[in-house]
Point group: C4
Chain length 200, copies 4
């Protein structure tokens, strides 16, 4: 089974999830700049979630690039990831409207953790499915150190939310920053690969 | 006429239907975990519908994979399926917000039945259209025992909804479970097919 | 310039327009079947608009199939069509919520007319752009009798709306029925074409 | 890394942003034509934003056409553009509902400026990435005079908004008109290129 439709479907869902979040930023009734003030936390939450969805799209893009064919288990693991991603607008809206209060921050962390775990499951299914035949994917995934660190930071963030939500916010931002970088590492790997390919 | 655009269009509609359902889970006003409580049935209904849409996407994916070209009748049968799928967010929201009450459960069943019947029609049109020239599709569809059982279970579920809605809920979940499995059967078939193909 | 992205973009917009209309069918607060009653006109309006969007998608699909490359004028003509299609959810919601009253019926007709005219413009730009080099498109479009009849019926429907809106509703349905058929005519044309192609 | 998925993802986001704006045009409660009156500014703002999104889609289409492969920096620059585009529905709704008042007009200008700057960044990253190997892109982008003029006009528009918002509105329309034309210039360039290509 080819991967084209899985990619197209995932792209569509991520694009919709990203864009639907904007609907949580309800147009205010006044026309003063001051009427935008209560929207600032909603906007900040939107920015964070947009970055996260961008990271997932980028990583999904990279990972699937190394894959040729998918099976039913991969389809379902991918749907699980999309399910968790689809909860981001709700969690973002709740956290933003409540000015990053304790419980919404905790729930937001749980959703991020759910996304991360389901992404790991998808990765695992893909590596297993291509076992033996596809070293490219294995190399691309590597030891997945960043993935493991993220899971730990999310758990700390969730635990801290009830007491000092600011710690959670910092951790959520830190994880996002961690992930904006590895793309380049994987890319360098691809560039080398293609370089070798062109030499032969 | 190629099938690419039909696939892309169906993917887009299913992706939007899936994601639009989340909008029914309205962000609550308080910031306590307790304010999420009334959303639990809405969330459960969302999970069930997400799984159903995932099943339809998977099966659609599999079935179209065995098809090479489509005609106008197939396009309209596909639109009929998309129409019924587009009613799922409404039925899900109504059932969830009314805590799985009798009538919303009945209507939800009717929508599921509509989806199932229109999927069968699409299958039939595809098999007929490819009559003689495409045994692969016929084999992939098989006797469609699961499809027939689903129709029966939906009808029982709809009939039971007015009296004991719990029976309906159990049946809706059972049908979903039935369908998560056959993908593997079809897949095994494809793997064998490809195995043979590689041998020649 | 290839047509792939134009097709993909149009598919996405039409899919979203189709699905967004469902959001006008607001989930009612009660759980009786009676609470669905006020939604019946909204539902009927939705069905009609869904069929129209299905027709536009089908015809767009067919027409673009005969095209190989597009230019900037075609892109803008296509955007004009998408603009008018994007107004359908608003017109549908207004007509449905007001139980097919006079003015909403008139506005709905104006939107349908706008869609039809912009579709004709797109057709014209495509035929002109491919002038001389592509007889296939010209044959596929033909004299566009159905298109001309539709325009006339829409104008009568708009004029009648203020006095006897029922006439308008009948005409809108008649135009939809007219268009569900010609797909087959074009298709027969394609089948013949392919038949000849296979003979050579 | 191929550009296909980047194009598909951008198409989906732009299509959704375009269509979601219609949801700001809330269906009025009465059935008189007069009830549509307060929607006129919302509609006009929608038309302007639709044209802008159409321009971005067209230009994105043209620019990516000249590109073969993309890297991580390009993906992120593209996401930055999509982020700014995703803010257009909010800015449009706020400006429309407040009848093009001073502050909403200013914010609308800021969003347009954000889109324009991030588009320039994307262009820059693409040109740099393809440095030496791809003259086609460089020629297609040219001196980007129109881009520079747009930035200046946006800044003037934003500055004027607080005092004479009408100046801003005129400038926003002027920039849109500037951009509807250059497509043809780029296209002529492509046509020449293809002409030469066919000669060889």
């Amino acid at each position: 089974m080819t991967k084209t439709r899985l990619e197209a479907f995932s792209d569509a869902v991520i694009a919709i999830v990203m864009t639907i979040m904007v609907l949580e930023m309800k147009v205010p009734h006044g026309s003063d700049l001051a009427t935008l003030e209560p929207l600032i936390p909603v906007f900040l939450a939107y920015v964070l979630s947009f970055v996260y969805l961008g990271i997932y799209w980028n990583n999904h893009h990279h990972m699937m690039h190394a894959v040729r064919r998918v099976n039913g288990r991969v389809l379902w693991a991918n749907l699980l990831l999309l399910f968790w991603l689809s909860l981001i607008p709700f969690a973002t809206g709740w956290m933003g409207e409540n000015h990053f209060a304790a419980m919404p921050t905790l729930v937001y962390g749980v959703v991020l953790l759910g996304c991360a775990i389901s992404y790991s499951i998808l990765q695992l299914k893909l590596v297993r499915h291509h076992h033996g035949e596809n070293d490219m994917l294995k190399k691309a995934v590597g030891s997945d150190l960043k993935g493991k660190i993220s899971l730990v930071l999310y758990v700390i963030g969730i635990a801290a939310a009830a007491f000092v939500p600011t710690i959670s916010h910092v951790l959520y931002v830190v994880v996002a920053l961690i992930w904006i970088i590895p793309d380049r590492r994987i890319e360098r790997f691809y560039e080398e690969l293609e370089g070798e390919h062109n030499k032969n």
